[in-house]
């Protein structure tokens, strides 16, 4: 099982703080030795400023109550730093805490409008209070330190501001919105939101960040690739962690994101293990069946660099039409899904969809199927299977009849006539040409206008 665990592969592309939930998860799964995980956590904590947690871990590892001096000193240092930075941006903090601002936030009706108003008020206050760029930069550092200390942002029921609040303010006030710091602020905000579990905000941040990465000018394409790789990994939190009810929408989004050419490239060059999540997203999203073809292609292309039960399942089913091994793989998938941090919640949905998937494919090439065999294949009892098929037929998703005497499912004729085929093939042509023509005229008129000018 350890071989299938992706934490070591993914950790490279995650923020230190984002690794903790993953580590905690593997700790529960018991894939690795307890001590190793504790040690990894401790090492990780030492690199952050979460000194209190580090001290706890230290105690857990060494099973003592004594805390080394070094850690204590570190704690002292962090506190001092925090104080110093707070002093630096005190002036700005007073502005931020200005009641007029919070009022805007509360009163604002639509989010966009309020954001706009907020920004205007902030800028005017900034001028009023004579805030200089140094203050703004200090705010960035302050926010960063806040984040490193685990003070990610406002938690429900408390008024204390955290990194998630400071960073957007920094971005609004900073002189150069394209600077490195402003860019880092975006990442910081996203990380904070993720850690706070505010998925909607996080999704917004993700979109902003994606845009920023795409539009920013990179001197080295490698850097851009790196950034995209990070984004791909971070997005897993945003798209797979929210509760199941909100998932379906985000899963569509993740398919869109991963299949967009630049990100597809990123996945193929840098992190083919993401294919697991992409495959899972596609399978659990019956509305995106058309993405399957692409998925199969990519999995085949990458099958020499990455394979796990999920991609193998897709391969067995859609490349080899080997239903027995697909079944076998599905069983493995079940275990895998349960142990994967991001896919935990999807497990059941995945299995259901995969089953349906097998069945559909099976039906496409068969005209007569034995129900008992099918039940076996679908991992169900015979009665259950019959019921399931009946349901499918009733929902008109399947053109079939059941021969209850022989326990057979008899498929309706799947072969459309030639005329029908021609019709289906040409059906969309009209519309597509129309769109094309529309686009063309639109563009031509644009050019004409340019010419006129």
């Amino acid at each position: 099982m350890a071989g299938l665990d992706l934490v070591p592969r993914m950790a490279r592309y995650l923020d230190k703080h984002l690794i903790f939930p993953l580590l905690e998860h593997v700790q529960q799964q018991g894939i690795y030795a307890e001590e190793d995980i504790l040690k990894a956590q401790f090492d990780l904590l030492q690199k952050t400023k979460l000194i209190d947690s580090a001290i706890e871990k230290y105690k857990a590892i060494h099973k003592t109550e004594d805390v080394p001096e070094a850690l204590k000193n570190q704690r002292q240092d962090v506190v001092l730093q925090l104080k110093a930075l707070k002093a630096d941006c005190k002036q700005l903090l007073t502005v931020i805490e200005d009641p007029s601002l919070s009022k805007i936030k509360v009163e604002g009706e639509s989010r966009e409008k309020s954001a706009q108003a907020y920004r205007e008020a902030l800028v005017s206050l900034k001028e009023k209070h004579n805030i200089i760029p140094e203050h703004v930069e200090a705010l960035y550092k302050y926010a960063k330190l806040y984040f490193e200390c685990g003070n990610y942002g406002m938690v429900e029921g408390s008024d204390k501001m955290g990194a998630a609040e400071f960073l957007p303010i920094y971005r609004m006030l900073t002189a150069d919105p394209n600077s490195e710091n402003a860019f880092s602020a975006l990442w910081g905000k996203l990380a904070s939101e993720i850690l706070l579990g505010k998925w909607e905000e996080a999704a917004d941040d993700l979109r902003t960040l994606r845009e920023a990465i795409d539009t920013k000018h990179w001197s080295n394409p490698l850097q851009q690739l790196e950034q995209r790789t990070w984004l791909v990994h971070w997005s897993l939190f945003v798209y797979f962690k929210p509760e199941a009810s909100k998932l379906s929408n985000s899963r569509s989004e993740v398919i869109d994101l991963f299949f967009s050419p630049p990100y597809l490239q990123t996945i193929q060059t840098n992190c083919s293990h993401i294919l697991r999540y992409l495959a899972a997203a596609v399978i659990t999203n019956p509305r995106r069946r058309n993405a399957l073809k692409d998925l199969v292609r990519i999995i085949q292309q990458e099958h020499h660099t990455y394979r796990d039960p999920i991609t193998e399942f897709v391969e067995c089913l859609l490349v080899n039409y080997d239903f027995d091994s697909a079944q076998e793989k599905l069983r493995q998938c079940e275990k895998l899904l349960a142990s994967d941090y991001f896919l935990q919640g999807l497990s059941e949905e995945f299995i259901q969809n995969a089953r349906l998937f097998i069945f559909e494919t099976y039906c496409r090439i068969h005209q007569c199927i034995d129900i008992s065999m099918l039940a076996d294949k679908l991992n169900m009892g015979q009665e259950e299977a019959e019921l399931w098929i009946v349901n499918l037929i009733r929902n008109a998703r399947l053109d079939a009849k059941i021969d209850s005497e022989k326990h057979h499912v008899i498929m309706g004729s799947t072969k459309p006539s030639v005329y029908q085929q021609v019709c289906t093939k040409t059906k969309s042509l009209c519309f597509r040409s129309y769109v094309l023509a529309g686009n063309f005229t639109k563009q031509r008129s644009k050019y004409d206008r340019e010419d006129d000018m």
Partner: protein
């Protein structure tokens, strides 16, 4: 060339040619002079000290005098043959030279040889005019010239009346010469061979000439005069030494050596190298006459001062036509052994190495010239043969020169690395800036620095080039070829050491160049081969274990520090290496990342393109070995489609129908040939390509039997098919192509047994790699053939069945249930086969539906329409706005060919995978 050995008194026509040569090679004879004088003065041993004179003679004077002597000689020749035209022009020239040198003459008086020649000329003129018969026989112009000459000489000689009178009274020199001649005569053969061994080929000519002169012309009197103003101390001292007591015996010895050589003068020259060296050394020991000049310095303690001086001297003559390169090398070799400061040693070595290279080049050029002459006969194959023969001569003889050069480079490296303070600044010096005639004393001080360090690398590269060249030229069955192959190992080691040196010096870019050179010698060898060889002999400059990492390391160095061209090359080498070891995906990904496929034909040189082609071929082979027929086909397709495989891989000149190349092109092509040991088996490539192609093609062919406009996957295969269709009768297959064709025909009928029997019987499969991979490939082929046969069978005959049982199919094709299941399912899904499984009975039920031709066309038409719209959308979204106007949206009726083109463009391995790699840049 045999005229070098002509006895005196040979026909005069020969002399004529010689004299022509003399005059035409004015420049060279200038340098030949010392040799002559060397010869001459041997009879004047006792006088030698007198003539020793000041060591440094004003060189301008020498130059002038040399020129004059030159002309004088021409005059003498002309006189001998009574060519008065020539005499007149030479005489005029001589006078011009005299007047040019007027200030010299005013200083030192009129040179004696001038006086002697004009005196003689006057005499001859007088005699000739008296001899009426002779005058009558002359041509008109000649007679006219004679008359003019008569006038001229009278006028001219009036100026020098006194001197002439003095000269006529006392023509001592003539007698001296006669003595000399006698001596010469008595030891004719020795002196000849000796002179050869002493000098190089070009020097022989004048010498021989000299002998003839002496014998035939009594009044050839001025020779010793020349030496009085000699500047070349080294040669005069040399001959002085030679004429000592030991002289003759030494001549005998060396003479033997050269006598034993065959008649070909050129070969002789080569052989003489060794004796020469020996002699130099021998002389060093023998002679004890203290002289500050010439080669004498060997016997002295080789102090730094002396070495420096000697080096200057040697350099001064370097590059002149007449200078013996071998001589120089020998001298420099001796110098290099001297116990002097490392800096000096380095300098000496630098010059030594470059002269060695000069020699190699000279010999090579000579060969090329020879070869061109013979190639002029017009018979290409023959000229190629000859080239090979010549090539083998060059390399077998050069062998020692090459290894010597390598040894010297290694020494230079040692000197440099032992003395890290030595770098280009203080070892720098350039020979090129020294003017030919003048050797300024301070040449070491104010020379522009020439970088020894970068010299070192260029030496190594040069060495590599020569090695490669000889490997390319050699006949691959000649034993010499194997010998040269053995040289690769020491070279690799040298390159490695030099590379380490440069890395230590921090010159990473240079190190990268060296790494590239090494890579070029390593990438095409399979690990297992090296390992096997490693059990017998230690592999110098290579690794037996962990070779992949070794190669990778070198390639990384090049990627990091090399320039664009060698980076590309290194990349290709690494891809080749991966492919060779069946790491197809790795190799493919690298190839795609490099984006070379797009621009290889535009932005790279032909050798790089050849390397690219080789890499593609190897990539294809590796795909084939891995059983990836489609990928293999994509790799091979472009290489094989034009029947130009040979040319593309530079493995032989293809004889072709459209022979529109001219000679230069052809020569250039021949220059690019890959050495034999690097060849990829052409037959294997073709065989893999055709087999792969028919495995892909046959099922399609059967499935789309109606479609007359069907596009073939492989044009090469189509050609083979067309050819075989054209044959009215087909006999049993003989060639590989025939066999493949027979296999394809069998497959067409679904007869996999027959097909397998044909294909697997091909002997060429044993070439595909190690035994292991042969077994693997055979297995793969057997499986593929069965699978494709099943598909073909279903396509061809499914219409005649209502249902087929799975069992039956399994039996028919000896395939496992699972495989048949997969194959048939795939066909059903992709709508190639209109059928479905009946699960309870385990059979395929065919959906009968006969399609009319109209149905087919209708379906095709709708497909094409779809593709058209798709491609239009693509064009639109690609932002190629200018094209949007061209391909109008409403052009739904446009010809299907364009649609096909667009569709084809969007397909294929490259199109798909390339996207992935774009991000890497």
């Amino acid at each position: 060339m045999s005229r070098f050995f002509a006895k005196p008194g040979d026909s005069s026509s020969e002399e004529e040619t010689e004299s022509e040569e003399e005059t035409s090679e004015e420049e060279s004879s200038e340098d030949e002079k010392p040799q002559q004088q060397l010869k001459k003065s041997s009879s004047f041993t006792k006088d030698a000290p007198v003539r020793k004179g000041p060591r440094k003679v004003v060189s301008q004077k020498d130059k002038r005098y040399d020129e004059m002597r030159q002309t004088v000689k021409a005059l003498q020749n002309a006189m001998k043959i009574n060519d008065w035209n020539a005499i007149a022009s030479d005489f005029q020239k001589l006078n011009q030279q005299i007047s040019k040198a007027s200030n010299l003459i005013s200083e030192s008086g009129v040179p004696k040889f001038y006086i002697s020649i004009i005196a003689k000329l006057a005499q001859v003129v007088e005699e000739t005019t008296k001899d009426k018969d002779k005058v009558k026989k002359m041509s008109k112009t000649n007679a006219k010239s004679l008359n003019a000459m008569k006038q001229n000489i009278k006028k001219n000689n009036a100026q020098y009346e006194n001197e002439i009178a003095k000269f006529l009274e006392n023509p001592v020199e003539d007698e001296g010469e006669d003595e000399d001649e006698e001596e010469d005569e008595s030891s004719e053969s020795e002196s000849e061979s000796e002179s050869e061994s002493e000098s190089e080929s070009e020097d022989e000519k004048p010498k021989k000439k000299k002998d003839d002169d002496d014998e035939e012309e009594d009044d050839d009197d001025d020779e010793d005069e020349w030496s009085s103003s000699s500047s070349d101390d080294s040669s005069s001292s040399d001959d002085a030494g030679r004429s000592g007591a030991t002289g003759i015996s030494k001549w005998m010895k060396t003479g033997d050596g050269s006598d034993s050589s065959d008649d070909d003068g050129f070969e002789k020259v080569k052989k003489k190298k060794e004796p020469k060296v020996r002699e130099t050394k021998a002389r060093k020991e023998d002679e004890d006459k203290p002289k500050d000049s010439g080669k004498k310095e060997e016997q002295m303690v080789l102090t730094e001062e002396n070495v420096k001086k000697k080096l200057e001297e040697t350099l001064a003559v370097r590059g002149k036509k007449g200078t013996s390169k071998k001589d120089q090398i020998a001298q420099l070799e001796v110098l290099a052994t001297a116990n002097i400061s490392p800096m000096m040693t380095a300098q000496v070595l630098v010059h030594l190495i470059s002269s060695q290279f000069d020699l190699i080049t000279a010999q090579f050029l000579h060969h090329q010239a020879q070869q061109r002459d013979r190639a002029g006969l017009g018979l290409l194959p023959i000229s190629f043969e000859i080239e090979n023969q010549n090539g083998s001569k060059v390399s077998s003889r050069d062998q020692c020169l090459w290894t010597k050069t390598m040894r010297n480079i290694r020494r230079l490296l040692e000197v440099l690395s032992e003395n890290p303070e030595l770098n280009e600044e203080n070892t720098g010096q350039s020979a090129a800036t020294v003017s030919r005639a003048q050797v300024p004393d301070d040449m070491f001080e104010d020379d522009e620095p020439l970088q020894v360090a970068s010299n070192l690398v260029s030496f190594v590269e040069r060495l590599d080039d020569d090695l490669y060249l000889s490997l390319r030229l050699l006949d691959n069955h000649a034993p010499e070829f194997l010998k040269r192959l053995l040289d690769i190992a020491p070279f690799l080691q040298l390159a490695e050491d030099v590379q380490t040196y440069y890395l230590k010096m921090g010159k990473k870019d240079v190190a990268a160049r060296l790494a590239m050179r090494r890579l070029e010698h390593l990438y095409y060898k399979h690990d297992s081969l090296v390992a096997k060889a490693g059990t017998i002999v230690q592999q110098h400059g290579d690794r037996v274990e962990n070779r992949a990492a070794f190669i990778e390391e070198m390639a990384m160095l090049v990627y990091q520090y090399g320039d664009d061209t060698i980076r590309t090359k290194a990349m290709l080498c690494q891809i080749y290496y991966h492919a060779l070891h069946d790491r197809f995906y790795q190799a493919r990904d690298m190839m795609l990342m490099s984006h070379l496929q797009d621009n290889i034909h535009q932005s790279y040189t032909i050798p790089t393109q050849i390397l690219f082609n080789r890499t593609m071929a190897q990539l294809g082979l590796s795909a084939f070995r891995c059983g990836l027929i489609m990928d293999a086909h994509n790799c091979f397709d472009e290489l094989c489609c034009n029947n130009r495989l040979k040319e593309l891989l530079a493995q032989g000149i293809s004889s072709q129908r459209y022979n529109d190349r001219n000679e230069t092109q052809e020569r250039a092509e021949r220059k690019r040939q890959t050495p034999y040991h690097m060849h990829i088996n052409l037959e294997l490539i073709e065989c893999c390509h055709l087999v792969g192609a028919f495995l892909l093609e046959i099922p399609k062919m059967v499935a789309m039997a109606y479609d007359s406009k069907r596009k073939w996957t492989s044009r090469a295969l189509k050609r083979v098919f067309d050819n075989s269709d054209r044959n009215p009768l087909s006999g049993p297959p003989e060639t590989t192509r025939d066999v493949i064709m027979a296999g394809a025909r069998a497959l067409e009928k679904g007869d996999w047994r027959q097909c397998e029997a044909h294909i697997l019987a091909l002997p060429v499969w044993s070439q595909i790699g190690s035994e292991e991979s042969v077994v693997k490939v055979t297995e793969m082929l057997r499986r593929k053939i069965k699978e494709e046969a099943l598909r073909t069978f279903l396509f061809a005959y499914s219409a005649f069945y209502d249902a087929l049982s799975l069992e039956q199919l399994c039996d028919m094709f000896e395939l496992e249930r699972q495989v048949v299941n997969t194959l048939v399912s795939k066909m059903i899904i992709s709508e190639e086969l209109f059928a479905s499984w009946d699960q309870p009975t385990g059979s395929i039920v065919m959906h009968k539906k006969e399609r009319s031709r109209l149905h087919h066309i209708g379906l095709q038409y709708s497909d094409l329409l779809g593709k058209l719209v798709e491609s239009n959308e693509k064009v639109m979204s690609d932002g190629m706005r200018s094209f949007v106007v061209g391909i109008s949206v409403t052009a739904a009726t446009s010809s299907s060919s364009r649609t096909r083109l667009a569709a084809a463009g969007s397909e294929g391995l490259e199109g798909n995978v390339e996207e992935e790699t774009e991000g890497l840049g």
